[in-house]
Symmetry: C2
């Protein structure tokens, strides 16, 4: 990995609102845009186009969606690959909220509550068609930034989950063992797959995302309590015990 990435390194462009429609912009009289605005338009439309059709989608179709001609792209990006890299950065680096780091480690709140809050917010940020499809397309392409992101998930989220769980359970602190990390991946992958089913397979999923997350956290935390041989107050309420998971019908 010879490239360096940094979460939230790109300031969300606060440029004038742009036409997001699929058809060429006929209403706007503004025929020329500032370089910054035009560049922004290219990146945004490229993100949704590549999300739908993959990175093999043509530059002519991209230009057509913007209502401009294809060679204009090359005034703003040296090559299509450079445009793709900009899309990567926008998708991968722009979603992480810095406060999540502090929040996951806030030991004044129970881990159950922190995890529910985190995964509610995190999945709000990444469970959309563009993000998940770009993520998978870039993963299949073997993009360096994808592998980097996976390592970030492991260190910023999963290692944290295990550490915080061990702390709350009164277990001795140490770097998470591979098998412990693997269990955290089970939770994370299971939740992520909810988004894949919804946005890639267009498959019906449990409507209330937060309920799916809540039940997942119940099973995970109760499960590792049993497996680790520890008891931690993890359920949000106790009354549900007799009636099964929330929302079962």
């Amino acid at each position: 990995m010879d490239e360096e990435f940094k979460l939230n390194s790109i300031a969300a462009a606060d440029l004038p609102a742009i036409d997001d429609g699929a058809e060429p912009d006929t209403s706007s009289k503004q025929r020329r845009l500032s370089p910054a605005q035009r560049r922004e338009d290219f990146i945004r439309k490229a993100t949704s186009l590549f999300a739908e059709e993959g990175f093999d989608a043509g530059t002519r179709e991209l230009a057509r969606k913007l209502g401009v001609t294809q060679p204009l792209l090359y005034r703003y990006f040296p090559s299509k690959d450079d445009l793709i890299r900009e899309v990567y950065k926008r998708v991968y680096l722009d979603r992480w909220q810095p406060e999540w780091d502090d929040m996951l480690g806030d030991r004044t709140r129970p881990i159950r509550e922190r995890l529910q809050h985190f995964y509610d917010a995190y999945t709000d940020a990444i469970f959309n068609r563009d993000w998940i499809r770009i993520y998978l397309f870039s993963g299949l392409k073997g993009a360096a930034i994808n592998k980097w992101y996976v390592s970030i998930v492991e260190t910023r989220i999963l290692t944290r989950i295990i550490e915080e769980y061990r702390h709350e359970a009164g277990l001795p602190a140490h770097d998470p063992a591979p098998a412990e990390l693997e269990l955290a991946w089970l939770l994370h992958g299971g939740i992520f797959y909810y988004g894949v089913r919804k946005h890639i397979y267009d498959s019906p999923v449990l409507e209330q995302k937060n309920r799916a997350i809540s039940n997942a956290l119940d099973v995970f935390l109760e499960g590792i309590s049993s497996v680790f041989g520890t008891a931690v107050k993890t359920r949000s309420t106790a009354i549900r015990k007799a009636q099964g998971p929330d929302g079962q019908d």
Copy 2:
């Protein structure tokens, strides 16, 4: 969904072994093959080529890998799309072992044992680079057979898991509630993501796959026991309780 698919509908071709190398076959003197053998070669090489580069990979590169010329493809398949459909069928329909259905429902064995056996065998069948990549590529393309397969997973595996769990736990039998199915998806998606991490992201995973599955099942079954308010003998052993999950270092 206007197409009909059927698991295991294609007999595994028992044709003479073929050269699987990437370079054109120079050693073999046999310049002409039987139509069945040639067709088989096309499908096999197309599977690995499409798995690596996606379905946009060129027919000329495919022919080059087989040591033949590109137009020959069109003696065996009317179009590239027809070839892709054959690859789909081979990948999706050819892996399911009919005995898995009976095995999952065999109530003479505890559910814990059945699930371990099933997921060991199922992941042996699908956790390879070709299968997982073709699966994701076809999912991203919105292929009908992918959506069909997802529904098959739900009815043949996940519904079964909930039903069998409820039976073993002495809970009243009924069709799995959406929230219960969602929990089964958490397990299934979590396990599947192990394969994605290993074969798509080339990310390090817990080496012993069966251990990852065993721990996942422990957490899942113990977890839903607590959440459902039932106690079922799920752990394979009890001694582990004090030392955390297997293989933790």
